[in-house]
Assembly symmetry: C2
């Protein structure tokens, strides 16, 4: 870090400022985790005023999406999953998940993210903490059972495995079955994990 970057509140937004903020956020998520990272701490690490961070990003959530190059906002996915009757939550989860992975841009970004998480402990930690905070906690808070977090975690196992087998390893016939069939297969087991 240069002396100039250490001067808070003085630095105007240059052409690279946004990128530097994202890089500082990435480092903070990796070092301290999602929960312990604040917009203020990211500003301090990037050597800029907190107002500048807020100028580029509405929330820590947006910084997280950018830091991991996520194709979607995890909170939007969580909201989509929670919006509807409890006995169809398995189908909504399967539909939302495949919706992301079946789009070319979504698939490319998610594959890159999975490969990074599986080869880098830092990316794995960022993903783990972000998913816990932004998806597992809101979804499990909605389930009125004592073991809600384990149930949501089991849903994660089924979804992660589907992504690895279908998109990363390409094991047949899962790799080429159509998305509708896959949703039909996933819906009852996701439902079983959550409410069975």
């Amino acid at each position: 870090m240069t002396t100039e970057r250490r001067t808070p509140g003085r630095r105007p937004g240059g052409p690279d400022t946004r990128g530097e903020i994202v890089q500082a956020a990435r480092e903070s998520f990796a070092d301290k985790g999602f929960a312990a990272t604040s917009m203020r701490a990211v500003a301090r690490r990037a050597g800029v005023d907190a107002a500048l961070v807020h100028h580029y990003f509405d929330s820590k959530n947006e910084l997280f999406i950018e830091a991991l190059a996520l194709p979607v906002d995890p909170r939007r996915i969580a909201a989509q999953i929670l919006d509807g009757p409890d006995d169809e939550i398995g189908r909504r989860i399967a539909t939302a998940f495949l919706g992301v992975w079946e789009s070319p841009d979504g698939q490319q970004r998610m594959k890159a993210l999975f490969r990074s998480a599986l080869s880098s402990d830092e990316v794995a930690r960022m993903m783990r903490e972000g998913i816990t905070e932004l998806i597992i906690q809101p979804v499990s808070a909605m389930l009125d059972v004592p073991d809600a977090k384990l149930r949501v975690g089991m849903v994660a196992t089924q979804l992660v495995g589907t992504a690895v087998v279908r998109y990363l390893v390409g094991l047949e016939p899962v790799a080429s079955v159509d998305a509708e069939t896959l949703i039909d297969r996933l819906a009852p087991v996701l439902q079983q994990h959550l409410t069975g």
Copy 2:
């Protein structure tokens, strides 16, 4: 390859011969796939007599186990899964799978294998073809339904995801829940995938 190694049937088993056979098998599995690899072709590729390959390895299956450094014989796992009543097959699969992953040596080897498969297309192909031939085909042949292979493939998604979430990424609470609880969670969904 040296001229000496090209002379079939003349080369005595030296100290590295076994390792060279395994390397030739690995190349053949990666180049041509599991089904198209024969003991004879491996011998030819290694520049040794076929009898020497048979001296070290009883079958192509054993060569495959060695080439991928598998902690167990996939056919033994398949036999274990098939041995019992149909309505408890989900539990037998969960038990067999966690049996491998919960042993320290098994876990270490499987983690290495998963990481290789996710970063190397060659290892991914070897795993994909070997698993198809040695586990998916025998298990799906036992199921008396038209979509047996897709059902067994869906079981693979649940198992692969469990391994990635619990052992590779360490997402809580799945990462630290005890194995018995995990088997109780997996058994009904594996059963649903196969016979639901």
